[in-house]
Each structure stands twice: as structure tokens, then as C-alpha cells.
Symmetry: C2
Subunit: 415 residues, 2 copies
């Protein structure tokens, strides 16, 4: 496919506010790009026929792709599953309504794996159509990477924002837990399900978050020497590809060259234990929240999803409560860790996007941070030997989203 020219939200907003474009033209340019690129990518589950274009609002003219795990009243909502054909919810999910209230245009529903779990979509990686774009927010990442839309909305329960962002070479931002609303999404594990955002760069995704929420999240200037960057030396690093391990060292080196205060951080035991709690919590909750899908529509679920729900239903409350306690201890350890460091660098995934569309990749570098509720963002820019993007994940203190995004935007420049 070669390289796609991505749409920069910052550039679009600047042009709009400077009178060089207007909302109609902005949305039309996305529609044109979708007409051109979508046949080769398959990032959309549905494309709006006559999308509403607001004349004003902070996001006026911004064409947003919404992962089809969120309810939309104007467009069909299938949650990546044949259980929900012709499903048209009566109201929009909270994040969709919020985007519309700020003036955004909901340009289409982006593909999701089945219930945002593992069963893949047919979406292709814009950097190489033989490779997965990652998941579960497959279409959101791919549509931004292919230059069809400037921004998209997704969700992460394990690694479903940061990983596809890494595979597609875009910025993917998983905010602190509850910073963005999840109301009106098809839940899988409510204590983990987190709404996240995609854009071409960290600066763009921070601007999107700011315009969407009216929070002061836009990435401002930073003083690198005052930012303590920890290279997170967890045991999982041994699972990463050589390319990925080299990319992490490269990122650390460039951060140091740019003046950041870089050091190595060992993984506290409490965080290693918390990582193991993620699967127990996710599966137990999925056993409850998807229990009725299994009971009523078993023949329309994938075998892997059936297994996950059934496994969850065998996890006892005692085991679940133990996992929640380990998660709580992990959060205390994470708080302590961020007294010594401002952000952590880790791989966003074990390597570049795997070949084939049968798997969406592995979330082992993401699950812990989803469980901790700490903000995380994929910093794009590096490449594997095969030319595919490699992503570096920056993780910040719970509630410290603004500082994380500012530092990550500066690191992105350094990479």
C-alpha cells in the first residue's frame, strides 16, 4: 500500500479557525478519503450516508470514527457480532453524544472485534494489507492511519487502544479510568473497560481529548530536564521481539539526548502480581456481563468468546475478590512508583503487527496498565526491519493525563 498521508487534527483546527477551511469542506475531505481508501482497508462497519455537520463547536468539521462497540441512534450498532443485526439503539453512547455536542461529525462506525474481544475483523493494516491492524479497536486505528479521518474513538479492556495504535503507527491514548465515559458501550469487563482516542500524533490526540472534554489536556511545552523518564524493566521485556527491544533502547537513548532524565525502573513485585489479576477480573466480569449473550445466542458467538465467557463463569467470587485485592495493592505500588518517576516507557506490543488477519496480536504489555487505571499513550514513529511501525508506550500517574500527554508529545518529537 505504501504510505498514507494522515490527517492532522491540529492542522485542521488551525486551518478552520484561521478561515482557510470550514466544517463542510473538512467533512467532505474525509468523505473523499474514505471513498478512496476504504475499499482496500475495511475500517468501517458502517459509513454515515448524510452525516450531520455542525456549523460551530470546538470539534465542528471534525469527522470522527466511532468503534462499533458504542451505541449510535443514527447508525446501526452491531458490536462486531451477528447477534445484533439491524440493531439501532434509541440513544447514543455518552462519548458519542459528547462528541456531537462539541460539534463533531460522526462519519461512521469503525470495525471492532466481536464484543471487543479477540475474534478479528477483516480490516487490513494500512502499512501492509497482509498484516493485522491489531484490535479490538481495529477500524479506529486503521482509519486514522489510512488518512481517512483525523480522529477516532475506541475502547481498551486489555490492550485494544494502545496495541492497534502501535501496529498502525498512530497515537492511541487510553486515559485514566473514568476520564471518558463508557455509558452506552457493550461492556465486557466493566471495571476494566476504558474509552480511548486515536489521532495521527500524540499532540493531535491530546488536542482531541481537550476539545472533547473541555479539560486542559492539550500538550503544552515541557522542560525535558525536569521530566524523569523510567525505562520499565519488567520480566515481559524478554517476550518482546529483538526489533522491539532495540526500539525501546533507541527511544530511551533519544529521550536522554533530548535532555530527559532517563533511568531504569525495576518492576515492583506488587505490579507483577497485579498483572496476573487482569485475566481473572476480565473473565469473571465477562462471564456475568456477557452471560445472557451466551445463554440466548450461543450459536452466533465465536468459539473463543464462548470459551472465555464459560471460563469466566467458573471463576469463583473468592478468586475474583483475591484478584481485586491484588489489583488494589498494585495500584498502591503504582502510586509509589510515580513518586520516583514521571512516566514509564515500555513496548506498546511485543513487536510490529503480525502477519495475517487471524489474530490481532498480544496485549501483554497493556493489560497491567488498563487494570491500574493509569493513563497510557502509544508514541508512534519507530519502525521494524520490515518497515512496519513499532510503538513505544508511555504510562503516567493516575489522573496525571495532562503531564503524560505533554511529555509524550515532546518524546514523539525526539523520536
Amino acid at each position: 500500500m505504501g504510505e498514507h498521508q494522515m490527517m492532522s487534527l491540529s492542522a485542521l483546527i488551525d486551518a478552520r479557525d484561521g478561515g482557510k477551511t470550514d466544517p463542510e469542506e473538512m467533512v467532505q475531505s474525509s468523505r473523499d478519503a474514505i471513498a478512496r481508501e476504504e475499499p482496500g482497508i475495511g475500517a468501517f462497519a458502517h459509513i454515515a450516508e448524510n452525516p450531520v455537520i455542525a456549523p460551530q463547536g470546538p470539534l465542528a468539521g471534525v469527522a470522527v470514527g466511532v468503534k462499533d462497540i458504542f451505541d449510535t441512534a443514527d447508525q446501526p450498532t452491531a458490536y462486531g457480532s451477528p447477534v445484533y443485526p439491524r440493531h439501532r439503539p434509541r440513544v447514543d453512547a455518552a462519548i458519542v453524544e459528547l462528541a456531537m455536542r462539541r460539534g463533531a461529525t460522526i462519519i461512521g462506525k469503525t470495525t471492532t472485534t466481536e464484543f471487543a474481544f479477540f475474534h478479528p475483523t477483516a480490516t487490513r493494516n494500512p502499512h501492509n494489507p497482509a498484516h493485522t491492524p491489531g484490535g479490538s479497536s481495529s477500524g479506529s486505528a486503521a482509519a486514522v492511519a489510512a488518512g481517512m479521518i483525523p480522529v477516532a474513538i475506541g475502547t481498551q479492556t486489555g490492550g485494544s487502544v494502545v496495541r492497534p495504535a502501535a501496529f498502525c503507527g498512530v497515537a492511541g491514548y487510553k486515559p485514566s479510568y473514568r476520564l471518558l465515559p463508557t455509558g452506552g458501550m457493550k461492556h465486557f469487563s466493566p471495571s476494566l473497560d476504558t474509552t480511548g482516542l486515536f489521532a495521527a500524533s500524540v499532540r493531535d490526540v491530546a488536542l482531541f481529548a481537550a476539545l472533547l472534554t473541555d479539560r486542559e489536556l492539550a500538550a503544552g511545552p515541557v522542560e525535558p530536564s525536569k521530566i524523569r523518564v523510567g525505562v520499565y524493566r519488567c520480566a515481559q521485556l524478554g517476550d518482546a521481539d529483538p526489533d522491539m527491544r532495540a526500539a525501546l533502547e533507541q527511544a530511551a537513548g533519544r529521550a536522554a539526548d533530548a535532555g530527559f532524565a532517563v533511568s531504569d525502573i525495576a518492576e515492583p513485585d506488587a505490579l507483577a502480581r497485579a498483572r496476573d489479576a487482569h485475566g481473572v477480573i476480565q473473565d469473571h466480569e465477562a462471564g456475568l456481563v456477557c452471560g445472557s449473550d451466551l445463554a440466548r445466542h450461543r450459536d452466533q458467538l465465536s468459539s473463543r468468546l464462548i470459551e472465555a465467557i464459560e471460563r469466566g463463569q467458573t471463576i469463583s467470587p473468592v478468586t475474583y475478590d483475591d484478584a481485586r485485592r491484588n489489583a488494589k495493592r498494585g495500584r498502591a505500588a503504582a502510586r509509589a512508583l510515580f513518586d520516583d518517576v514521571d512516566l514509564l516507557l515500555t513496548p506498546s506490543a511485543p513487536g510490529a503487527a503480525p502477519k495475517g488477519l487471524e489474530t490481532t496480536g498480544d496485549s501483554r504489555f497493556n493489560r497491567l496498565w488498563t487494570l491500574m487505571g493509569t493513563p497510557a499513550v502509544n508514541i508512534p514513529g519507530l519502525r521494524a526491519a520490515n518497515g512496519l511501525p513499532l510503538g513505544i508506550q508511555a504510562v503516567g500517574r493516575f489522573g496525571g493525563d495532562r503531564a503524560l500527554l505533554a511529555a509524550a508529545a515532546a518524546l514523539e518529537q525526539a523520536l
Copy 2:
């Protein structure tokens, strides 16, 4: 109306397991009671025509009323609102599926105020039809109180389980946050929305929780002298009716007579401040999660709900984040408090059920504990001068549901 004979879950389960009744007969007896009592009460939004009766399972034969804020695939789901006519979700809410999986019969949908907020239903208090049953879980409390069903499911975001239980003279149990799943409910404020249970007595509601979840929650014997009961002397006590204040002293006195270690507990400042955070958090989240209802169906919402959603949409993220921090400090103070005491006693409401159906009463004694996520249960048994029930609320340590229910069941005997 006089007094209704309530159905005891413990007695029903004992009779079933002893071969003196069977699931068919158990459900039929609820159907008969509904046919007899429902016309005078109006506790049901919908009654199942041919409810499924499971031959076995821990809850086989138990007719459960489900608040119509939860999705049901076999019965219409209206969330107490005209926005959702003929709405029939494709799957059941997690708690509904769990109850069915354990063998329960979903006998009907019980009435809820609009979106579980304040706009009342036409449900009447079984103890006096001129009085409110409380809300928002109006039908769940009234149906149990009227002896139509042994148990019901509701939700609490402010005081929507404990208060109607108090007004109707039944046990209402709001578990620790996330002990019961909320998936598939119409959310109002996701960080507060809590699924809760109703039964004739504390012992019965504990048994229901145990059979439903497979947790060890059934109320076992306790040694009163080892249980430190704190009478919670918060400033709000001054807002309670004289009857209610007298009932709290009476409860404390009877607890002391029964051998419990009773003392007075002053409200920590951090908890007083956290109480004020509840409204900010609730309204901000409702502004997001119900934003699309307002945008798309404003003409079908009550004026009070419109006001609440609009008010929520004016609350800035900074104010919301401040309230969350106050809530967090409050939770730390609550943990410390429960180092000194095993359970707290407070009023469940400012007094008995108010006259009239225009209001469902006041949640000022409940909101703090919903926000803290601590388990709370209404202990029925006392009466106001006008003969209506007065409820005493027992509050326990987060995650200490089993100890709370056991102690509250013993206190119920003492009252």
C-alpha cells in the same frame, strides 16, 4: 390495607428442600398473591405471562421481581420512561441472567421512577396507600412488602434501595460497590450505580445474596459482645423527624440490651466533605450518560430530570475531579473508621414514608454510603407514631458484607 403477610425466602427454601413444596407451587403462590394484591399497589410495570420455572437450581421456584431499570429479553424494558415504549432488549442484564442461571423465575418487572431518578411511579405503600413506597426502586420494595414475591432486585445511586425498603418495612441490601453486576442497567451515574436486593428480613436478603452469587453471605450466628456497634452522630441527625431520632436511640438501646458493644461515633470531617461530593459526581455523570436522552427525547423527559441533566452538563471537569478526590479521601476516612467499629447505625431515611405519591422521599442518609461503596442494609421492625415503618440503616466496612449482614440479622432480632 392493614398488614400483609410477607413471604420469607428462608421458609420457602426450607420447605422446598424439605420436599414440602416445589418450584411450580412456589411460583404459583406468587402469581396468586400478585393477582390479589397488585391492583391495590401497582408495584409492577409488567407481569410475565408464562414465566420460565426451572426445576432445579439454588433459586428454583423463587419468584423474583426485577426493577424495570434492568434489561430483560423476555419482557419489555422501559426504564420508567416514555422514551422506551415497546423496548425489548436482545439480552438480559447481567444480574437477571445470573438469577435465571441460579434457577430463579423472573416473575415481572417492578416499577422504577424515571431513569431511577426522582419522577415517581403510581406505586402505593402497602402499609398505607396514601403514602409513597419510596424510590427509585419503588415496585421492588412494595411488591415484597405486600407479600407478592419473596425477593426483588433494585438499584441505588443515592438512596434507592435502603430508603424504599425502610418506607415499606422490608430489608433492603446495597452491597459493596461491584459485588453485584450492573451490566445491562440503564445507567445514571456509573461510579455510583449499585445493584441491590430486597427481601422480607435481613436474614432473607442475606440468603438471597448468597444463593444468587455463591458467596458466603448467608447470615450466620454472631457473638454480640464481640461486635462494636457505632451510633453515627452526623450533623444530618438534626434533619430527622423526632420519631426517627427516637427510633435510632431505641435501636441503640436494644442493641446494648442484646449484648452488642454500643458506642457513639462522631462523623469525621473527611466524610462530611465526601457527602457533599455525591451530588456533583452524580449530576456530572448523568449529564454525560443521559445526554443523548436529553438531546433526542427532551419532550418526553420530566422537567426535574431535564434540570438534573442540564445541571450536570454545566459542572466542569475540574469540579468533578475535585469531588472525586474528596470521595477518595472520604473512603480512606471510612476505612479508618471501621478500624474502631464493626458497623454503624444511622437512620435509613429522615422519617417514615411521606404522605402523597408526588415525592419518593429524601436520600440524605444514604448518599454518603453509596459514594463510599460500603455495604448498607435497612433493618426493618420499628414503627412511627402513625404506624408506618421506620428503618434503621446498618453500614459496614467495604468488602465486609458477610459480617455486616450477620450482625444486622442479629440486630433485627433484637429490635
